[in-house]
Symmetry: C3
Subunit: 269 residues, 3 copies
């Protein structure tokens, strides 16, 4: 294991990848932005690691974060810099996002997420594309898209209404209501909540147990559950990225992002 | 604002319409029936007001009621009178209902409902076509269709199973179980519950906040959330109105409505 | 009633059927296996009784069990014996299962389930195809498919995500989490929970009330609720039975079933 960790440390900058006990452990540890925000480069690295985990003998993909924050969503600071420089870049960013989300939609093995801290925007939306989500009491969940001047991404416009009902989804996506781990569990966005002290331990026990199941059974079960919605998820991803591209290529959209980031005290160009 | 209220008071008999702070406030205040029951005329007025709100610069439609009762559903007394006179009228009523429900399905801006008292039948069903539903502790929710001798309407046969799960939907639609505001919130039919004393105030704060969001973002978000289900809602509405038309044009159906209304001490022809 | 019970006692071995007060009461009392496990013969008997209840003037089908256990799912001991003898039998078993589940999908009258004890595997999955589910406090719900080395059946891969959200469904189907009656009610797999002492009485009162509704209204309502998903349920059933057939006809699948049953101290060939 130690050798592999060393190896992966060479391969990736923004993630740590470690294969053990039948599962691949992918941890966000993003150097190119604050709070585990997803840059285009970090997303490319995750896609590469997911492609390897899909092809090797891993039974499960376990997705977590090294730091306290699980993931604060798309790296908006870099995004705004790119758009201010040239609005044409909106197409490239939307395509990068679409491909990243596709990697989740088409991943054929069970994905377990372990959320130990805040999950914001895309960081929360992606959970709807995982199969099991464990959260620590310290986790929180927030998709304040309308407030940011964005529209939903990561198939949240599809998965959130189906997970928690249409009205509850609107509260998160329109009003940006922030959920505690317990509230997210009640709403179906989290499978189980654990005390922070034993969080990692409890997750690993469960992931090992699942990884010990027959490959055939895990694959058939995931296929039965996801295959019916895969083409709809694909369409939702496409529609969401198209809407974001329209927003990002408009002055109204970029200005609204800039105002939002200024309120957050982010340094902008 | 005062001028507009005066203006709308001339235009409408059964509703109060008031445009302010970026939203249109539509309040039921039905004179032609008891308990804010929906007559064909009241539904036509609401459609007209919704068409104006869709076309002007309102960001949000806020739907409420002046009196204690939010809405007691279709005005069954007038309905029965019409059917007893001539069963052929069932077609006209079903068409009126279908067009009214269509106005909700095709409304492109967010609809916020503020339910301060009982919501019964169509009055509760319509909430499934809104985007955010705030309720006072005094609100209650009830769709006793099977008991009344009716079948579901307002797309409840589609939205209720998706909002609260199939089995919970059956309990409301078959058994007519009455929900408190808290229960409706747990089941996903209500977004948030407030104390009656500060209800209007809390709603207005949230509606203003939402109305301050970018138009583009509100429209794109609602479109992403609703567009996938619009054709299915349309079909559900059509199927529901066809079923009601079959019930209303049969002696069994009309007699069952009459027995139900007699038990409620309603004066009938 | 007594005469009919006597009559049904002649007709069936594994079920008790009793028609009264407008409903057909079908109770599992399986002699050919332990714990009300479903043999191919018991499933055939249930299909025959359901065909009669569909055609006669029963308004409701009430499904329960004579013994403590509601239903422990497919009779795996006989299944393994058949597969060990000849793997070709996997086709016959998968077809028997598919036809049995079809009988639920295409049943046009409301089905009420009364779950007084453990519901396991197919015994729990079938509840997603009923319309109302009453449970005693002593009931429990469990679908440990991955642990058993099986994939989901009874349309659970379709109904469970829609009933309780995708992530909660994965916890039951992948991790085999066992739910109490209260938990199942919160997740939407149960409509209402009663104390064991008055369970049968409370159920009968509600079933009689429902059976007193107009036939036309019950049929139209069920049709509105179920017709939209019938072709999808049919496809889910087909896909699930195909997956099980693949598992049952593989050595990996049969060996995993044998290990599971050995751990349960079941006597095997």
């Amino acid at each position: 294991i130690r050798a592999r960790q060393a190896e992966s440390a060479y391969q990736y900058r923004d993630i740590l990848v470690c294969k053990q006990d039948g599962y691949t452990h992918l941890q966000l540890s993003i150097k190119s932005a604050d709070d585990n925000a997803l840059t285009l480069e970090a997303m490319k690295e995750m896609q590469a690691a997911m492609a390897l985990a899909a092809a090797d003998d891993s039974q499960i993909l376990l997705l977590g974060a090294v730091d306290g924050t699980f993931c604060s969503g798309l790296d908006l600071v870099t995004l705004v810099k790119m758009l201010v420089e040239n609005k044409q870049q909106s197409t490239r960013i939307a395509e990068g996002l679409r491909d990243f989300v596709s990697a989740f939609i088409y991943f054929r093995k069970p994905i377990v997420a372990a959320v130990g801290g805040p999950a914001v925007g895309l960081g929360a939306a992606l959970l709807g594309l995982c199969d099991i989500v464990f959260a620590s009491e310290k986790a929180s969940f927030e998709t304040p898209y309308a407030v940011m001047g964005q529209s939903p991404e990561g198939c949240a416009s599809y998965t959130f209404p189906r997970t928690m009902g249409y009205l509850a989804a609107c509260e998160l996506l329109f009003c940006g209501r922030k959920l505690t781990a317990e509230e997210a569990c009640t709403k179906g966005l989290v499978s189980q909540v654990f005390w922070p002290g034993c969080f990692t331990q409890e997750v690993i026990v469960r992931v090992r147990e699942l990884a010990a199941c027959r490959t055939m059974v895990l694959m058939e079960t995931k296929e039965l559950l996801r295959s019916v919605m895969r083409s709809e998820l694909d369409l939702a991803n496409q529609r969401e990225c198209d809407a974001l591209q329209r927003i990002w290529s408009s002055s109204e959209g970029v200005n609204s992002l800039i105002s939002y980031l200024r309120k957050q005290d982010k340094v902008l160009p």
